[in-house]
């Protein structure tokens, strides 16, 4: 067994997962001396009936919901955060519950900064002013198309991101009434994001047993449940297993240096306004092929996580790295027809690739060279093998 390198690891969120998990929220709120949360969600979730189920979970409790702010759509903007913060203050709320996925949670985190820091200037924290204290209790209830990013320590508002350990949610509730997805596309994108993050964390050059444990479990769940989840997006048990995988992958990702796939996908998403998940689907196979091509070490643990002990033990040691990569590619092949496979399909202009590679390399702190980033991007753009 390897000796761990120096590492730090933080998972602040308590996670409650399983049957009737939402009914535990009032008890948990009591632990924070909170009784009046503001709920941040989207109109789509309100109309789908999920918010009705959520409200039903508070029956016979001492909690009063300070308001259901359901104006969030597919974009987290400062205007929404200010409106929700105004509602929070007017109603005398003492905590925040985000029901939904990316944008809803981003708005909730932004509201939390505004109300806890008693300010209207959110962006000063994006420009270097550090968050120095615990914010208000934040509870996250992922619903439908969660990607696990709700569990991370990052907030993205108006396409600007801020990372701080005070931005981790205090409680994450995975309830099987909320997790089933509405469509296969939704599951496809969520699983790809989790896969990219878990693979990135599993292959990071820092040896941290914590990151490895979280990434391993995430990959194991994805390996076991991804195919069924894509076939039956509304299957309750599978969706809960996948949401656990998304959470595990996101926590591994939050504590590991960002992988090349994530960095490039985020830069591409910024440049094109197409979701990062679609780019992760395209880039992940090329990144792995690039690693093989450059004879970089791909840990056997990747294969162990995806295939299980029996198959791992039956495979000769020298073949395990390659087998791990093949497993990832096989899982991604299951997404055929649900997500684009080359950047040409997404009509990404080729001339932008240089700038994107440069920005991703700079954001990695030069861990990835600009040339390597560009090579992966160009192969992915053309759909050309290494």
């Amino acid at each position: 067994m390897q000796i761990p390198d120096y590492y730090e690891f933080l998972n602040q969120a308590k996670i409650i997962s399983g049957k009737k998990a939402m009914e535990h929220i009032p008890f948990e709120l009591r632990g924070y001396d909170a009784q009046k949360p503001l709920v941040v969600t989207s109109r789509a979730l309100s109309e789908s009936g999920l918010i009705k189920k959520f409200i039903g979970a508070f029956k016979d409790s001492a909690v009063t919901l300070g308001g259901i702010f359901n104006d969030v759509r597919d974009y987290a903007g400062i205007g929404l955060a200010r409106d929700a913060a105004f509602l929070y203050r007017e109603r005398g709320c003492d905590s925040i519950i985000a029901v939904g996925n990316g944008p809803e949670v981003d708005v909730a985190k932004a509201v939390n900064i505004l109300v806890a820091e008693k300010t209207d200037d959110l962006f000063k924290y994006f420009e270097g002013t550090p968050l120095k204290r615990h914010l208000k209790p934040l509870i996250v209830v992922p619903a439908c198309c969660s990607s696990g990013m709700e569990f991370t320590n990052t907030v993205t508002v108006d396409n600007r991101s801020l990372t701080s350990n005070f931005l981790y949610p205090d409680l994450a509730v995975l309830d099987p009434r909320m997790t089933p997805a509405k469509s296969r596309d939704c599951v496809a994108e969520s699983t790809v994001i989790a896969m990219a993050h878990a693979v990135g964390a599993a292959l990071t050059d820092i040896h941290s047993p914590m990151i490895e444990a979280y990434a391993h479990s995430a990959l194991r769940y994805l390996g076991l449940h991804m195919t069924k989840g894509l076939k039956k997006p509304g299957h309750v048990e599978t969706s809960l297993a996948l949401h656990n995988a998304y959470a595990l992958a996101a926590l591994a990702f939050s504590n590991a240096p960002a992988g090349m796939v994530h960095l490039l996908a985020v830069e591409l998403a910024r440049a094109t306004d197409i979701s990062a998940g679609k780019f992760m689907r395209i880039l992940l196979p090329y990144k792995m092929a690039h690693m093989m091509h450059k004879k970089m070490k791909i840990r056997d643990e990747l294969f162990l996580a995806l295939a299980g002990y029996d198959e791992y033990a039956a495979t000769p040691a020298k073949d395990r790295s390659r087998a791990g990569v093949e497993r990832v590619l096989a899982l991604l092949a299951g997404l055929k027809g649900m997500m684009p496979e080359t950047m040409k399909d997404l009509k990404v202009p080729k001339y932008k690739l240089g700038d994107i590679a440069k920005a991703a390399s700079a954001r990695s702190g030069k861990r990835y060279s600009e040339a390597d980033c560009k090579t992966v991007l160009e192969h992915a753009w053309e759909g050309r093998a290494f």
Binding site: T64, L65, N70, L87, R91
Partner: protein, 180 residues
């Protein structure tokens, strides 16, 4: 923005669940009292408790409650539904009415509910676990096997509880629980 578009929502009430759980707690409380006089295992569990033992099982946050304790003569007694003014030595709370319904409709056994963190215990954890064992035995007496199997961790074998002991005990516990 018009904040009236986002009204406050007060928690609803589920009277049916509350009444059902209150009745179940009353039955279980009375049955524990009766079983402590009939069943040797229950007797043994309570014998090891201190003389001032008083347990309150509550559903958070507003009840109902069940208080069971030892009286001046050291006999186990159902002390009613109101913990006010009683010197409680062991509090077992079920975190929500939904969790209580899971347990009392036998969708989840008491031991599984403990493992799922649906209970909190304030007091001696050893006594808390003994109470869970007592509840298991009481359920075996009170309920038919097909339901009890859902409610207990492991249904006792013949060698552990003979049918004769079970049926005689069941009749006496039912008579005592519902009469005096």
């Amino acid at each position: 923005m018009n904040i009236n578009n986002y009204p406050e929502i007060k928690a609803g009430k589920d009277f049916i669940s509350k009444i059902y759980v209150a009745i179940m707690l009353w039955i279980v409380g009375r049955a524990i009292q009766a079983a402590s006089r009939v069943d040797k295992e229950v007797k043994k569990e309570f014998a090891e408790f201190p003389a001032d033992f008083m347990m309150c099982m509550s559903i958070l946050p507003f009840g109902p409650h069940m208080v069971v304790g030892k009286d001046k003569n050291g006999k186990v007694k159902y002390m009613g539904w109101n913990p006010q003014g009683k010197k409680i030595t062991l509090t077992m709370n079920i975190k929500s009415m939904a969790a209580a319904m899971q347990v009392f409709t036998f969708q989840e056994s008491t031991t599984t509910a403990f493992a799922h963190d649906r209970f909190t215990v304030d007091g001696d954890i050893v006594q808390g676990l003994a109470v869970v064992r007592v509840l298991n035995i009481v359920e075996v007496y009170l309920l038919p096997k097909i339901i009890t199997k859902l409610a207990v961790k492991r249904y006792p074998k013949w060698s552990e509880m003979s049918p004769l002991r079970k049926w005689v005990g069941r009749i006496i516990i039912y008579v005592r629980a519902f009469t005096f």
